[in-house]
């Protein structure tokens, strides 16, 4: 079976759950305690697609209020982006459009996925209200705590990165 490597970068505001999503995806673990990421944490997980083994090298980047503050070298060679925001904190999705414009400028033609995390903390009614406040549509509402949609975002991004 053919094997390839793809660099995936997780970006977004601090405290939105990028490290928790990575930890859930790579190790199937979750901890309630919040420990800030200082620079970059790198993990690796193999994703199997039909006839193709994809080594996902996941760069979990320290959160910043604006993505322009992230060192540009972190984005170098990225094949896919996951932009994570916190469904309980509107400030983390207020500037999605501007952040994505900046990222697209750095990485033209690189696929990205939006993930609204911490779904488990909202009621159905709160979730509806929050969704109506999104500046652009978000395809994935995730929970690193319950594991909801975590596997799906990485799987979807892998397909996009490999054009499958």
């Amino acid at each position: 079976m053919q094997s390839i490597s793809k660099k995936v970068v997780l970006v977004g505001n601090f405290g939105v759950g990028k490290t928790s999503l990575t930890r859930r995806f790579v190790f199937q673990k979750f901890a309630d305690e919040y420990l800030t990421t200082l620079g970059v944490k790198i993990d690796k997980k193999i994703m199997n697609l039909p006839d193709l083994e994809v080594n996902l090298i996941i760069w979990d980047i320290a959160g910043e209020v604006s993505q322009t503050k992230v060192p540009k070298s972190y984005y170098l060679g990225a094949n896919g982006i996951i932009y994570v925001f916190d469904l309980t904190r509107p400030s983390t999705f207020k500037h999605i459009s501007e952040d994505l414009d900046y990222i697209k400028q750095l990485l033209p033609n690189v696929p990205y996925i939006l993930a609204g995390n911490k779904k488990d903390l909202l009621s159905e009614e709160e979730l509806k209200r929050t969704i109506s406040e999104f500046p652009i549509p978000c395809e994935y509402l995730t929970s690193a705590k319950t594991g909801e949609c975590v596997e799906e975002i990485f799987q979807d991004l892998t397909k996009k990165m490999t054009n499958r």
């Binding site: 660099k7 800030t36 970059v40 790198i42 080594n55 320290a62 060192p71």
Partner: protein, 415 residues
């Protein structure tokens, strides 16, 4: 000393004062030599560094594009786990060209101790920021909730006031209904008449714009059925005005000819509203005078016909094409009257347009005049109380769950 050692030592000189590790690898990625090790890498010499380290693996394509113009990449604060602990390193990758040979040196600078303090500061900064943000959201939600509660209370108070006003208005209208019903003639008015009467009266609202009026004076019975402009309260006001005028015409002016009754009614109505151009109200009306001695019935109508059934034949006399009152510009209305000899078993019907205009049935259409005529023809021979009951049952069945369209009034006179 080999050439590659010389290269490495040359670069090491620049970092002498720091705690660094140097790993030199070639264009294929094979580890050539390392120095100032945190760990011994001798056993990995000759192995591809891209297979050992996934930081470099993910950058292989980028490293390969380094050239003389851009020969260095810097990656600050890389958090690397070591067993239970985590180290923080700054990574630098340099491209070295020496005598047409290209090498790469990976410089690993340990900043774990230095970053421990930074990490604490950063953690505290983030925690405080998130706490403040959540607190602010909570406060905003509380303010919003209080505002919603206040607005809900205001709305409830307004609703209570509106309901009270509605109750007061309904009380007034119900009282007005009593007045209107008290003014309508009772069965006793025509009890000594030579014919049987039924009155099917069904207002759309509490009070009605349709009214009937009857008087027996000498050997004559005068009966009117009117449909005033509109329905509800304005219609009811007009009906009071109309009844009062008919009373004056008959009792004071002693007019017993339907044509003259209509003309007098029209004059009075126009006079009454002559000072206000905004009022164009009036009424459609049927008036019949029955002379019991002569056995005649005389009819005149303003936009209302008279139906009658004689020897099982349905017949219709059309009224004048104009209403009583209405636009002041229409002057000199000329009403016509018709006199008929009454024959035994004749049945006459006076009515407003409400029955035929009622919406209903499977297609939600008007009942229509044609169906109304057929119904009257079918039931004309029955006792008056039964006719009234059938008219009511038929109307309710046709209407179903729909609202009543207009006031409804049908008066039958059976000889």
């Amino acid at each position: 000393m080999s050439k590659i050692h010389e290269v490495l030592i040359a670069y090491q000189q620049e970092y002498l004062s720091q705690w660094c590790q140097f790993i030199l690898f070639d264009q294929k990625g094979d580890i050539l030599v390392s120095s100032n090790s945190f760990s011994d890498l001798h056993s990995y010499y000759g192995t591809s560094i891209y297979q050992l380290n996934f930081f470099l693996e993910s950058l292989q394509s980028v490293i390969e594009t380094l050239d003389a113009t851009q020969d260095e990449l810097f990656f600050p604060r890389m958090e690397i786990p070591f067993g239970e602990k985590t180290g923080v390193f700054d990574y630098t990758i340099k491209r070295i060209e020496d005598q047409n040979e290209i090498y790469y040196v990976w410089i690993v600078e340990d900043n774990t101790a230095h970053n421990r303090y930074l990490s604490l500061v950063q953690q505290e900064r983030n925690d405080t920021y998130i706490e403040n943000e959540l607190l602010q959201l909570k406060t905003q939600n509380q303010i919003l909730q209080e505002e919603v509660e206040k607005q809900t209370a205001d709305i409830q108070e307004q609703k209570r006031l509106i309901e009270k006003q509605k109750d007061d208005i309904l009380d007034s209208i119900r009282y007005a209904q009593r007045i209107q019903q008290a003014i309508l003639p009772t069965d006793k008015v025509l009890e000594s008449a030579i014919f049987q009467t039924f009155i099917f009266y069904m207002p759309k609202d509490i009070v009605s714009g349709d009214f009937y009026w009857a008087r027996q004076v000498g050997g004559k019975s005068v009966i009117a059925v009117a449909d005033c402009t509109g329905h509800g309260v304005p219609g009811a006001f007009m009906s009071l005005v109309g009844q009062n005028m008919l009373e004056t015409i008959l009792i004071e002016q002693k007019i017993f000819y339907p044509k003259n009754i209509l003309e007098s009614l029209d004059r009075q109505m126009l006079q009454l509203f002559q000072n206000d151009n905004r009022v164009h109200d009036g009424m459609d009306i049927t008036v019949v005078v029955i002379d019991e001695e002569q056995k005649t019935i005389t009819y005149a109508g303003a936009k209302r016909p008279l139906y009658f059934v004689r020897d099982a034949n349905f017949q219709e006399i059309k009224g004048a094409p104009f209403a009583i009152g209405g636009h002041h510009l229409v002057q000199g209305k000329n009403f016509t009257e018709f006199e008929l000899k009454i024959q035994p078993n004749d049945v006459f019907y006076l009515f407003s347009d409400g029955y035929a205009d009622q919406f209903g049935g499977d297609s939600d259409k008007k009942f229509m005049i044609r169906n109304f005529k057929n119904l009257l023809l079918k039931i004309h021979h029955l006792p008056v109380t039964m006719q009234q009951e059938i008219l009511k049952e038929n109307l309710l069945a046709w209407r179903g769950s729909r609202k009543q369209t207009d006031d409804i009034l049908v008066v039958g006179l059976q000889f």
